[in-house]
Symmetry: C2
């Protein structure tokens, strides 16, 4: 029997008296919308997005009005709102969505999220989240084993994202070396400086600003042409800072940089950190998953010498957003200092979906996921490295799934290097991207970096991607770019 | 046809070839588990929890093992894991769960969360979350209207919880008065101090520690016996700090304190902030919902004079976790300072469930929710204020839904005030709470406060609660406490 939702309202659902039937019917109707969305997400004949400008959505599409009002809407309208919200959104799980480091739609992870929101609890205490609190402990323990700290010790917490995990690393380093800052403030410490590469994520600089170091005291390190920190530059800048009377505190090594996918040489950086007694943090927000791959984990060599590690399962490992861990080598003395363990009070339950995926795939399932994504990047790299109309942003095989390249339209191919070509080339990727958005067939990111004009940054983290999708992307770029 | 999940694995689900059927069957099977859980949550014959000690869960219950392994588990086992995760958890939506400020299981909010996780995107940019980004803007605009800033201006963002929203308020205040701190660090500013009441949430102190002010420079204000800041004490402490050479920066006024539900007198605090040119933040994490009630919003009188406001719809308004907003009076110049708008890079989509609930209930639906919860607290207060065996922690009607009281077992009723009675009374609430956990019939929080020994803090934020549930709680307390 079809339920008529046009005369039903939120107030008719549970806990309303006799609300059970309407509640179940409403949820099943919603699930029907969601499962259809899931099916279509994996169907390559579906568009990645149906693009509209903000003013179009704000003015209201047919039957879809974003404005809130005093009076309730019927459940029929609510279901339409749900359908339309999905319709005008972006299918981040589509096999041809390559725009972000986080992509894919893992069914087990999705099930985990549905359950998490049904449980609607909080990571506060064992009292109100007994199962989730234990799952977090056990999962962190496994992650810590993979980092491989020699003592077998280590601690950690899931935070609302990589930027906050990185902020934790700076806070904990400061607390370790200058515990009095916690009570007395930064004026109790000397003028501290932090080091991170010019290719690292901006969250390190932001943490420096927020925590009271000052962004100018976050010193950027030079990199080689692959975007990896040059250790000699780190040592030179440490000495320079000391000479000026600053006190070096913290070094961030990136394991999988956002744009190039570069892995900083952790062992060489660790040597310098040991020499000068500095905290070594490894930002593996993007690269962390590679710790699970026997083939690729060598890129993390030396990570066991780090004092802390950021690792976001919601990126490379396809766990739904949000899922980020900060791991710390030393057991924090929480009896003494509970307050510093979390800057949050309540915490969203980010663990269950990850735990459930680990159960369902096993460690080997994650390994296969990662190896497969890296193989696809290799495939793309091999396909375009010598192809007419392409220029790689840097030479050599990709370290991560990032492949950075310029597409050179025929009109620019004969043009000599110089300002005019640079200016024209700078506009190519944005123009192609705009066409992609309009046509909705695929999405890939672009950006400039340093003195390099806009280029495409291709990444793969979605298990649904196949070689044919990589071929499709290249075909689309060429189709859209041929007349530019 | 029943699907046999014992031979199916995660790898057989989409994006696997021909994985569609198994995917839909698996999700429907999960939904069956979830809807059964939802039904039982509202059924008073179901327990609030089925208590186990950590070691019991860690050793593994029958068929439920928390350990992670290298090899995958079958989907049949995954479904068992899901069922057991719910079984050993706590039903925060149960009408007799009164343990936290966040409780309830709103069906529309739940639907919103299921959709959000299916969309699995990020609040990054309009490009990848066009609908959600606009929903956030429109919803913040409505919330800002309710705060009532005279210019009609205002800005805001949803953050991962009230502690982070409060941290934002301190950061923004610092940035407004001492913008050079962002680049040069705290050493570029004088010795700044923050003020907040001794009854306020510890996140203000934590923000002071994290952001480099130092927790000692967060000065605690005295309160009256209802837990409300005494404005004269604020002024005296401002003058004292100035005399010592410190520079007052920021005052937090709490609108709905965690334990007493107290509302600080915002107008009188605002007068002082204006006189001394200080940033006024109103922490309405818990009280914020009252802005939507014509009957109760007078408790926020003066909020339109604040510079920033924290408001957590995930508390009083029954929105699923997490949903917290920080609202700021001045339009932030994001063109100049995008980096300070969010300390996060990616952000979880917290807006959709709230937007959908607002659509489905209307503003008047939230108002009814709030008025009803406050009426129930009034009912509890009236019931116990003169009842034998009860003593109120403070006199007078509750300002929020918090009702704080001691249950005095018969054995203590004749005993004179003094150390022995205090020590015995201190143990009563924990003992009753332990019995509640064991029997699983209801849950309510307790704590000491200042020189007051452990007392019960009753709160209501769940629309499913009725007077009979309040009666049940009192009966349970008396049944469990009679022989103590």
């Amino acid at each position: 029997m079809e339920t008529d939702f046009s005369n039903l309202f939120a107030r008719d659902l549970l806990p309303a008296k006799n609300g059970e039937e309407a509640t179940i019917q409403f949820l099943l109707e919603l699930v029907d919308i969601l499962t259809n969305y899931v099916k279509k997400t994996f169907d390559r004949s579906t568009k990645v997005l149906d693009f509209h400008h903000p003013h179009q959505l704000l003015e209201g599409m047919e039957g879809f009005n974003l404005e809130l009002s005093d009076q309730p809407e019927s459940l029929e309208q609510i279901l339409v709102d749900c359908r339309d919200t999905l319709k005008y959104g972006v299918r981040t799980g589509h096999p041809r969505f390559f725009n972000q480091l986080s992509s894919g739609l893992d069914i087990i992870g999705l099930a985990g999220e549905w359950l998490t929101s049904t449980a609607n609890t909080n990571m506060f205490t064992y009292e109100i989240a007994p199962v989730f609190v234990l799952m977090e402990q056990l999962t962190l323990k496994k992650m810590i084993e993979m980092v491989g700290w020699p003592s077998g010790e280590g601690d950690g917490i899931f935070s609302p994202g990589g930027a906050i995990s990185n902020m934790y690393s700076v806070m904990i380093a400061r607390y370790k070396y200058y515990p009095e800052v916690k009570t007395k403030g930064m004026s109790a410490a000397p003028r501290l400086v932090l080091f991170t590469s010019e290719h690292s994520h901006y969250s390190i600089k932001k943490a420096g600003a927020a925590l009271g170091f000052g962004s100018e005291n976050v010193i950027l390190l030079s990199t080689d042409e692959r975007g990896r920190v040059i250790p000699a530059d780190l040592e030179a800048k440490i000495l320079e800072a000391k000479q000026k009377g600053y006190v070096p505190l913290f070094v961030n090594a990136t394991a999988g940089s956002t744009v190039y996918g570069a892995f900083d040489p952790i062992n060489e950086i660790a040597d310098i950190c040991e020499k000068y007694n500095l905290w070594l943090h490894v930002d593996g927000a993007w690269g962390g998953g590679l710790l699970m791959s026997r083939k690729h984990r060598h890129k993390f060599n030396g990570v066991e010498r780090a004092n802390s590690v950021t690792w976001n399962p919601h990126k490379m490992m396809g766990v739904p957003l949000q899922c980020s861990a900060i791991l710390v080598r030393e057991k924090y003395d929480v009896t003494y200092d509970t307050g510093d363990k979390a800057i949050q009070c309540g915490r969203h339950v980010d663990i269950f979906k990850f735990w459930l995926m680990w159960k369902a795939k096993g460690t080997i399932g994650f390994e296969q996921h990662i190896d497969r994504c890296l193989d696809l990047s290799q495939y793309l790299y091999n396909k375009i490295k010598n192809r007419e109309g392409y220029q790689m942003v840097f030479d050599g095989e990709p370290q991560h799934t990032n492949v950075c390249f310029w597409y050179i339209p025929p009109s620019l191919r004969g043009m000599p290097e110089g300002v005019e070509r640079r200016e024209k080339l700078h506009k190519v990727a944005p123009k192609i991207k705009a066409m992609m958005m309009e046509s909705g067939t695929t999405m890939v990111g672009y950006q400039p970096q340093g003195d390099k004009v806009n280029f495409f940054r291709m990444v793969v983290s979605n298990l649904a991607v196949t070689q044919s999708d990589i071929d499709f992307l290249i075909d689309e770029i060429e189709r859209m770019g041929v007349d530019l």
